[in-house]
Symmetry: C2
Subunit: 224 residues, 2 copies
DNA sequence: TTTCAATTGTACATTATTTAACAAAAATAA
DNA sequence: TTATTTTTGTTAAATAATGTACAATTGAAA
């Protein structure tokens, strides 16, 4: 019953703004990282063919992906690395400031708190919460862990955009409900259980066990 | 240059064993978890329609996915929950014992060490490694952190199947090379940088920043 | 200036994935 | 027993994603 990536777009006044296909969205960060690595090199342009050989996508897929957002390329030269990079920055929304909290300050929550990539991507880590009195008050990345009881108020008052959900599976749905009620816009879900949210909430499932399953499944296939 | 999911299968002597499409592999763990939740309830059968309404996939997709592996269903009843569950268990390879090590005992590595799902999925956590003398010797989940220098020997001698890679980005490629050389079969990669491995090595990218990017991108799209 | 080479952006073809539709089987009700 | 209902497994249709091919454009070389 979960809403898939529809939006019909017909009741939307704005003329274009065609929704970006999920498949493309998933590749954009890869282009972004690759371009970023190239920024420091002393080349100015890169062709789709060069990107292809580095990244393992076909050159035409790359051209097509990029053409989705306009015409960035320069014929017979390729793409201006700086230009493409900053466009991806914009398309990915990194120029918009977004606020985030982490719910659950176990090892995973702490690992998230130490993530160095937030700033570059426009995220501002505003708070960390836990329910365990032994953890509340500890400090990670200069943020003192707060009682999760205070989270709803904090989220609402500070207009927090995104919550990283790093609580035990049993708390997952309850906590997600709390977040939604508090007005969160997106949930970055690390729990290992399916979570339901209203369809206007952005839910990114970061379930790690899926990866574990995939490896297992592929190992078996290879051993056959 | 990375190998995508090809295998041609033509030079493979074995007759059938058609490779499972990636799209299906990704859904299998979801079926598995859902079925597992149903095991304890007092119903014996579940129809594709019921699964569909719970899981958000269409019923025909579910039937088709499952039919890929044979005919599990019972007409006019649906699927025997126990039977389907244990078949998924087998298809996902959970009945094969797999050994694993964790490379990097920062917060993320420690979170992985505490993962409770390994056993159920047939993984046996055999070792944790780090390069930091201040961390070597600490104990997580009853395993003492070893010096990463000892990893190659340990992996080769114990015939380790899978390594969870939880080291800083700068160490990623070097560590992956070491793992491959030591004879690892699969890498569960949590680093935030692209890693290259020979195409016969199973590489599962668990890059978390991709999720962060996706949320950002979708937030922007919605705000338009 | 003209030709040649490089490389984009896009139309068309192909392949992959999903949905829709339904015949066949099995249970239940009449 | 016969009709009705349910629900699978599968075929065909629809949709989506990717690859191929190439005209158009631009820069560089002749």
């Amino acid at each position: 019953m979960t809403a898939k990536n529809e939006s019909k777009n017909s009741d939307n006044a704005k003329p274009t703004v065609k929704e970006i296909p999920d498949k493309i969205v998933r590749r954009l960060p890869h282009y972004y990282v690759q371009l970023k690595n190239m920024l420091n090199k002393d080349v100015e342009y890169v062709s789709s063919e060069q990107l292809a050989s580095i990244m393992g996508y076909s050159s035409s897929l790359i051209r097509r992906d990029l053409s989705h957002f306009g015409q960035f390329g320069k014929k017979s030269y390729g793409y201006d690395i700086h230009c493409l990079y900053s466009n991806l920055h914009r398309i990915l929304g990194f120029n918009h400031e977004k606020s985030m909290v982490i719910i659950g300050a176990g090892f995973l929550g702490r690992a998230l708190a130490n993530n160095k990539s937030y700033e570059e991507r426009g995220y501002l880590l505003r708070g960390i919460f836990d329910k365990d009195p032994a953890i509340i008050g500890l400090e990670f990345n200069n943020l003192r862990v707060m009682d999760v009881e205070r989270a709803p108020e904090f989220i609402a008052e500070n207009n927090i955009d995104v919550a990283a959900l790093a609580v035990p599976a049993l708390e997952a749905q309850k906590t997600a409900d709390m977040l939604v009620k508090a007005g969160i816009k997106g949930i970055w879900d690390f729990t290992e259980t399916p979570v339901e949210v209203p369809e206007d909430i952005i839910l990114i499932e970061q379930n790690m066990n899926d990866g574990l399953c995939k490896i297992s499944c592929k190992l078996v296939q290879k051993s056959k």
